[in-house]
Amino acid sequence: MTDTSPHESAHTRAPASQRSRTAEMLEHAKRLGKMIPVTIDGNPIEVPLGTSVLEAAQRLGIRIPTLCYHEDLCLAGVCRVCVVQIEGQRTLQAACSYPITAPINVSTHTAKVRRARRHVIDLLLSAHVGECYTCSRNNHCELQDLAAEYGVDAFRFGRRETRRYPIDASSHAVVRDMDKCVLCRRCVRTCIDLQEVGVLEALRRGARTKIGTFMDKPLGSVVCISCGQCINRCPTGALRANDPTDDVWDAIDDPDKHVVIQTAPSPRAAIGECFGLEPGNAITFKLNSALRRCGFDRVFDTNFAADLTIMEEGVELLLRLKRALVDRDSTAALPQLTSCSPGWVKFLEHFYPEYIPNLSTAKSPQQMFGALLKTYYTDLNGLDPRNVVTVALMPCSAKKFECNRPEMCASGFKDVDYGLTTRELGKMIREAGVDPLKLPKSDFDDPFGTATGSGVIFGTTGGVMEAALRTVLELVTGLKVEKFFDHADIVPVRGFEGVRHVEIPVTQVGPVPPLVAHLFNNWKWLKGATLKVGVAHGTANAKKVMEDVKAGGQFSQCHFIEFMACPGGCLGGGGQPTPTSPAIRAARAKAIYAEDRSYTIRKSHENPAILKVYDEFLTDGPCGHRSHKLLHTTYTPRGKYIE
């Protein structure tokens, strides 16, 4: 029984009952192009063979309610909310997972169907500890919405008021409240199929079924990478981020504390969704005003630190290339892997710890900023770092884990005190009675005020690579990157394809710029070289690339690979507003690229604030002694061992 079919080619570990196999079959069938006539509620339509009943109904504008279905995930067909009647069939069928292979006549709201859906919703409510007032998902809960849609006016089968499970708050990132779980298994499919981490699974069976971890260990002690993708796809309040807003308010309310916040580009492109804006509208400068109204003493742009990251990471890459190509040093550890996505870093520490030497030692922008705020910034302003509280607005739940890493105290203090998600800041702004959409715009505070477009695009997959390439190419060639790419848009590294491989020839080299003159004599050794880079987003894709690296495939020949833990990059982060879908993420990406275009300075090494920091504070330059102490870090091989 060692034979396996091509279906099993290790691209997912999800069991078939939860896997996209049906979806794959549908995809295959769709390519055949055969059109099947079907009738839904009396409306005729022709759909490609293999289309699901749900999809066909959507094309006709007929709404079928769903719960366990999610656009990003494989089909489970377990909640049974979407059942429909297909003529000639004894039982009702789940519209989400029923592929159309022959002409059928579907009814979506017969008495039987309505009764069944109502029963299913009643049953879900009977098993759910519905503390709606105190729930993080109050007013944007899919279970609430379903109950409203189906006019649930009583708990027909009772309701659960006593808790069965303790709340698991062991993780810095994700809090699990399994009494609110409706067992739709979106989190399971997110973890095992979308992200290929596989921390969550259904345990036990029948009435005792619950979603849990290996041996039901706390989430903080298993191989969870803190990406929070499960939170984004949970329909109820069963999964939420570990929320520090009370502590942040306490700091703001304390007159002795100087509270500063840095905002990352992705939450700025998405937080409007918390206030009713359509996805794809960034409110960066209105948000600055809202944050000041909330009581933050200073508002800084994480993009400054993103530019700094590019300087450090880009120079680190050039140093590794020199070691490999000039010094013939076999320990140069290429390809260099990006390190700004803390979920990805934890993924590598768990699953590929042998590649830790390849991880860039540069900290993420959040952490670089924190270290500078409690050193450079406090020096400049005569502040005691003990009284400075650094908050970071991030699209990310793993950033909460990252700022609590013991490695992240280079300033002598906790570099970043609190990581807030987009959702949490939205809540704080509402609590302060502020409508950010109605506020005037205002700028970021100095001394880090000026940002570049390169920092902005960190928020989307391929963005770090594009920013790094803009800087590296200009440093090495001495020419404007616009000479090689129109408007400095390095289009080949953009897009939502899961894995990308790009080659960029270095046809000519220029003089070594003064900023790095202490590190390099000339660039002759790079002339005629081809820079090979890769991009992957979502850890399932990261796994593909790492397996390829291990096997000596094309990615093992790369010099630099960008990894983002979340699908779409930071804009699809686990701290972003719900819901999420490919269309929502694409809209956010569009907003981010538009913001990049709007900056006059679009390259990190041209950012005057960056040049000033190297001039005044990090005087031994990028990858120099001081920057190593403050801006670089070490990693922890974790492996898969569970205590």
Partner: protein
């Protein structure tokens, strides 16, 4: 245990092992399929799907790797006839699997053996070893170059739902035993994504007999839609529990006479997933077109409390539901709560009606056969034993 038929011994004891396979291998696979088709053999696990059609679909499904799986996860409460077949007639079962492999061009067979039957494994392995030695398994079976087929045994782990064919396949693949979405069906996307036929132990044994004795011989017994003999496992309030062989179509009345259960007030046909037939319907027949069964017959004597019967089966489903789909996982809990309310005399007629409606939803909307049949017993007891179950008081005691 009584193992009996009207003629005194089981048909399986009379059919010489090896004959069926000789006959099959002398014909083309298509001929063998026609032969099975002519016999009218339907799945002996209870669902009654035509065996020849299942094999034909698997045969036509494209794929170089195909599998024949013997469902020996006999877990239906009150069923124990496969145990007898495996203990006494394993050769016939393996012969049937080999014939199926010949029909669909499978190279690998798997017996998915119920965890509780671990004690049968050494015996089955010995039979397999003997068949390999005799070139009835392995490469070039019976001297036919290119006909390679072997059988291995895979132990179940104690889950009832793994008797459902797609859950069984999940379990075989090393996953949690949970039913898959259907379509696709195992005949095109089964074990490891390959075309797979999953049949009951008894089905394979009958297939071997049909080849040995002919389709006409098989069809002589039973009804037009339910041909042949079938094994039944009889337990409960009767004088002679045991394994019986009867032609399909036998009425419950006649059946009860044979087993000494004439005074029964109800009979549970088909195990927990079956239905509870009251005395007034004992004229009905055990056949696919009337009351289908995988063979489990549980007799309830006059003294049985039918609410206890309902509670017992519901407790079973609450434990054995895989927990995937809402109607089955939560619905069984609500039905049991309802039974307990009835026991205390605290269930209003309105709520009872609501529960029956919920039961219908479970039958219609559950993902797999387990959930779809879980409310059957509750519904039949509520509809047939109204006088007995209504109007109880908290002080009422069944004894």
């Amino acid at each position: 245990m009584i193992v009996s038929t009207r003629t005194g011994s089981l048909t399986f004891a009379e059919v010489a092992p090896g004959k069926g396979m000789d006959v099959a291998l002398a014909r083309t696979p298509a001929d063998v399929l026609r032969w099975i088709d002519a016999s009218g053999l339907r799945g002996r696990g209870g669902a009654g799907f035509p065996t020849s059609l299942k094999w034909e679909l698997a045969a036509k499904s494209p794929g170089a790797l195909k599998y024949v799986i013997c469902n020996a996860d006999e877990g239906e409460p009150g069923t124990f006839k496969d145990r007898v077949i495996l203990a006494d007639f394993a050769d016939l079962v393996f012969e049937g699997m080999t014939i199926a492999a010949y029909c669909i061009a499978a190279r690998q067979g798997i017996v998915y053996l119920r965890a509780e039957y671990t004690y049968l494994r050494p015996h089955l392995e010995a039979v397999l070893a003997r068949r390999r030695e005799a070139h009835l398994l392995g490469k070039g079976i019976a001297g036919r170059a290119g006909f390679d087929f072997d059988i291995e045994i895979h132990m179940g782990s104690g889950s009832y739902v793994c008797g459902e064919e797609t859950a069984l396949i999940e379990s075989l693949e090393g996953q949690r035993g949970e039913p898959r979405n259907r379509p696709p069906f195992p005949i095109d996307t089964g074990y490891l994504g390959n075309p797979t036929t999953v049949n009951n132990v008894e089905t394979f044994a009958w297939a071997a007999c049909i080849l040995a004795r002919g389709a006409d011989w098989f069809k002589e017994y039973g009804t037009a839609k339910s041909t042949g003999h079938k094994l039944f496992s009889v337990s409960g309030d009767c004088q002679r529990p045991g394994v019986y062989e009867f032609p399909l179509g036998i009425t419950i009345e006649a059946f009860l006479q044979e087993v000494g259960g004439e005074d029964a007030k109800a009979v549970q046909v088909g195990g927990a997933a079956g239905q509870c037939v009251p005395r007034g319907e004992f004229h009905r027949a055990l056949a696919y077109e009337d009351i289908p069964t995988g063979g489990s017959i549980i007799v309830f004597g006059p003294q049985r409390d039918m609410l206890r019967v309902a509670a017992n089966f519901l407790e079973f489903f609450i434990d054995e539901s895989c927990g995937q789909c809402t109607p089955c996982r939560e619905g069984t809990i609500k039905l049991l709560e309802g039974v307990k309310m009835l026991q205390r005399g605290q269930c209003s007629m309105d709520y009872l009606e609501e529960l029956c409606s919920l039961g219908e939803t479970m039958q219609l909307a559950s993902k797999c056969g387990l959930g779809q049949t879980a409310p059957n017993t509750f519904l039949s007891i509520v509809s047939h034993f109204r006088d007995e179950i209504l109007g109880r008081t908290a002080a009422w005691s069944p004894e």
